[in-house]
């Protein structure tokens, strides 16, 4: 008989549209992070480190990169005879076939998967946060409180509390009230989108709410359980936790890793973060290179200057090029004599010689001012940037561009240049 005390369901189907061109060809959880990782590595590593060896990963938007990355779960020791990692895309049914229309709907459509493992508890995770957390401790808390639902929460500064979903608790951590982005919050405990459900409670709620359109945990399932008088408790988490949902917070979280002793430390033996490393050789730093305060991935070859940056595996940085305050992802090649400032350059990009980024004035992006802000230059995966061009601030580029795309050799601040992909 198959029996798993707790299984995890990891929601990895979202596009993450606020990451702009970075998610043009991949779902947000597959976006590179911290020099060699992908965002989904953090919840997956947390699972195996917490002893959760059965993880269903729900995919929907652009799953190719994610599927290749996860494979059969070898890097996380999630290749198991029973359990392990299973990728769960939406599928056709004899009636009512539909995409995943909401977070809870996605889980509902995979009731059979969960039922297989005969779980007592189900852990709901999302694939877009950077943190280390022991879910086993959270489960102990859930059991000790005899709870039906446990919600992980973290204290946020009171003045920022109105940006979050806030929970109000009594002195025994039992939740007495929910406030969604309240104007006048009466607590500073923000929900982290991590839930433990007792299986029967979850199943009953999902089945009851199955016709709810866009069924969502925060909007429908949790309020439903609350109304039904179930016991909801808040599990307070005080470690590092970062939502990397916007380009600004994504850039910031990467930059925090290069502090001398970063708050989020990847170098601890305890609680390792695992990833699929396709590139094995060491990195080479040439005689004329200069590296200050950065992290650099395996197999990179650096001939230029790198300062305050996160460089992914297999990246080549040419002679005389200066890279500052930037994130450069896996196997991107930067030519010679470039000046790369405050840029996020995705995987497999080719940048010609003497390219300058982040030049000119800080003008808001004309197309998507909310996405491409923070004075960054963002270049999507697989793009080609011709030699001798200048690229402004709050800009986005995706696809193979030619000198003709740059009037007078310049892409002005605030412009967007999309030549391929879903966003074209």
């Amino acid at each position: 008989m198959i029996k798993k005390e707790m299984i995890a369901m990891l929601l990895a189907g979202g596009q993450g549209s606020r990451l702009g061109v970075l998610t043009a060809k991949m779902a947000k959880p597959a976006v590179a992070f911290g020099g060699k990782y992908r965002i989904i590595d953090f919840p997956l590593s947390n699972c195996i480190n917490s002893g959760v060896d059965t993880v269903g990963v729900l995919t929907q938007y652009q799953p190719l990169r994610l599927n290749t990355h996860i494979g059969i779960g070898i890097p996380w020791d999630l290749d198991r005879n029973i359990g392990g990692v299973t990728v769960l895309p939406p599928y056709e049914k004899s009636e009512n076939s539909e995409w995943y229309t909401g977070t809870a709907n996605a889980i509902y459509q995979n009731l059979n998967y969960m039922e297989n493992y005969n779980p007592d508890y189900v852990l709901i995770l999302s694939g877009d946060h950077i943190y280390k957390m022991d879910y086993e401790v959270m489960l102990d808390f859930h059991k000790a409180n005899n709870a039906d639902v446990t919600i992980a929460v973290m204290p946020v500064p009171m003045e920022e509390a109105s940006r979050f979903g806030i929970v109000v608790t009594d002195d025994k951590a039992q939740i007495t009230e929910f406030q969604e982005k309240p104007e006048h919050p009466s607590s500073n405990l923000a929900s982290m989108g991590i839930y433990i459900f007792s299986w029967k409670v979850l199943k009953e709620a999902l089945v009851t709410l199955k016709d709810q359109s866009n069924c969502d945990f925060g909007k429908h399932v949790i309020p439903y359980c609350f109304e039904q008088g179930k016991k909801l408790v808040a599990y307070e988490y005080n470690g590092y936790w970062k939502d990397v949902g916007t380009l600004g917070s994504y850039w910031e979280a990467n930059m925090e890793l290069i502090d001398i002793i970063p708050e989020f430390n990847l170098y601890e033996e305890f609680w390792k973060i695992y990833t699929s490393s396709e590139i094995i050789p060491p990195q080479y730093i040439s005689a004329e290179a200069k590296i200050g305060r950065s992290i650099i991935g395996d197999g990179a070859e650096i001939y230029g200057e790198v300062e305050n940056s996160v460089i992914g595996p297999g990246v080549v940085i040419g002679k005389g090029t200066v890279v500052r305050d930037s994130i450069i992802m896996k196997e991107t090649t930067i030519g010679e004599g470039c000046t790369i400032d405050r840029s996020v350059i995705a995987e497999n990009v080719t940048v010609g010689d003497h390219v300058e980024t982040n030049v000119g004035e800080d003008i808001p992006n004309k197309l998507k001012p909310k996405v491409y802000s923070f004075s960054l230059t963002t270049i999507g995966g697989g793009s080609v940037i011709p030699a001798n061009v200048k690229i402004g601030k709050n800009t986005a580029i995706s696809g193979e561009t030619t000198p003709e795309d740059y009037p007078d050799g310049v892409l002005e601040s605030g412009e967007t240049l999309i030549k391929e992909g879903d966003l074209a």
Binding site: I280, P281, Q283, Y284, E288, G292, D298, G299, V310
Partner: protein, 372 residues
């Protein structure tokens, strides 16, 4: 595949000095991220060999740790796989492997149960890329009994620690001398052989009956005129690392762009066990030039013309020049290291000074790390 693989990884060698105190030569770290045996194993898997036996004996702990899973080299298959054989006591035999032929003899059951017609024998201390299929084709075409892969070394190279051979125009080996005092040939055996499986079983069994144990001395040299033994000259990079100076040189070769390009970027890849280490971190004060840096390193000082293996910590104001720092070494502040090989897992106290004057100095210090 028409061949099974045998990797002879049992050996120790006094030429490695203190570096082989705690590991077999096949487990020596190479080029930052690899171990010596990765090259033979990757060549096997890249040549389509599905079944490999690794014969090990001397200080096998670190080798066994490296070979803990066969998946890194793609050997975790239903068909074939990777087998690690250490000596065992049996009813017939209670000795260690007394030589390379004896090592094969003691595991003859493995060979007898295979169905593949050929055997590729390789050693675990060569750094090279080779498609063994090409050697096999050559072997068949020459109707050879044994094919020895050999390499022509530059005339200035010292060949006295190798098996040195001479071939006729047809490439049949006419002279074969093991570790000659003086030599007039600069063609050496790379320790890679191709032989028909039944032939190998027969030769090894006969050796055992005669109390002979060495593959080179008792088979290659003894049967030189009796059997058709051919040489296959390999092209491309090859180095044997089983002596401190050539170990040092081989590692330093990876600072050359053509060597890096050949091993790191050209098809096929060399595989190794993955260690799940974070990217290397450069803190203010780091100054790294012409060096290889591996995953998990944290650098606060100066590094020049050196190779940092995995998880090396370089303290503030350190100066490291022309040196090899093996895995998981902690270098305290203000340390000066020049022309050295620092043994893995060492902890070097702050303000230490180590310089290899004429030769490469091997630094072994066993200090407690966490009381520093």
């Amino acid at each position: 595949m028409r061949a099974v693989g045998i990797i002879l990884a049992g050996g120790n060698n006094h030429r490695m000095k203190e570096l082989s105190n705690k590991r077999a030569i096949a487990a020596m770290p190479i080029a930052g991220s690899y171990r010596s045996i990765d090259f033979a194993l990757s060549n096997m898997t890249n040549s389509g060999v599905q079944k490999v036996a690794v014969l090990t004996q001397y200080n096998a702990r670190s080798l066994n740790e490296h070979l803990s899973s066969s998946k890194w080299w793609n050997f975790g298959r239903k068909q074939g796989g990777m087998f690690v054989f250490t000596p065992t006591i049996t009813k017939e035999n209670s000795f260690w492997y007394q030589g390379t032929a004896d090592a094969i003899y003691q595991n003859l059951d493995f060979l007898k149960r295979c169905h593949e017609p050929y055997v590729i024998i390789a050693s675990g201390d060569g750094v090279y890329k080779l498609d063994y299929n090409k050697v096999l084709e050559y072997h068949i075409q020459k109707k050879a009994d044994i094919t020895v892969v050999c390499k022509e070394l530059p005339p200035e190279e010292d060949v006295t620690r190798f098996g040195v051979l001479k071939m006729n125009e047809d490439c049949r080996i006419e002279e074969f001398e093991e570790k000659p005092m003086v030599s007039n040939s600069n063609i050496v055996s790379t320790g890679v052989y191709v032989i028909r499986r039944r032939q190998l079983i027969e030769l090894v069994e006969r050796c055992a009956q005669e109390d002979r144990y060495d593959f080179v001395k008792d088979i290659l040299i003894r049967y030189k005129n009796l059997k058709r033994i051919y040489g296959y000259k390999m092209q491309g990079y090859w180095n044997n690392i089983a002596a401190v100076d050539s170990y040092y040189r081989t590692n330093m070769d990876f600072l050359k762009p053509e060597v890096r390009n050949y091993f790191f970027h050209q098809y096929p890849d060399i595989y190794s066990k993955v260690d799940d280490l974070p990217p290397a971190k450069y803190n203010p004060g780091s100054d790294v030039r012409n060096s290889l840096v591996s995953a998990g390193c944290i650098i606060n000082g100066t590094v020049e013309n050196s190779i940092l293996f995995k998880k090396v910590f370089v303290g503030e104001n350190c100066v490291i020049k022309n040196s090899i720092i093996l895995n998981d070494v902690y270098l305290g502040d203000n340390t000066h290291i020049e022309n050295c090989i620092v043994e893995s897992r060492d902890t070097i106290r702050a303000n230490s000074y180590h310089v290899g004057e004429d030769d490469i100095k091997i630094v072994i210090e066993k200090n407690e790390r966490y009381v520093l």
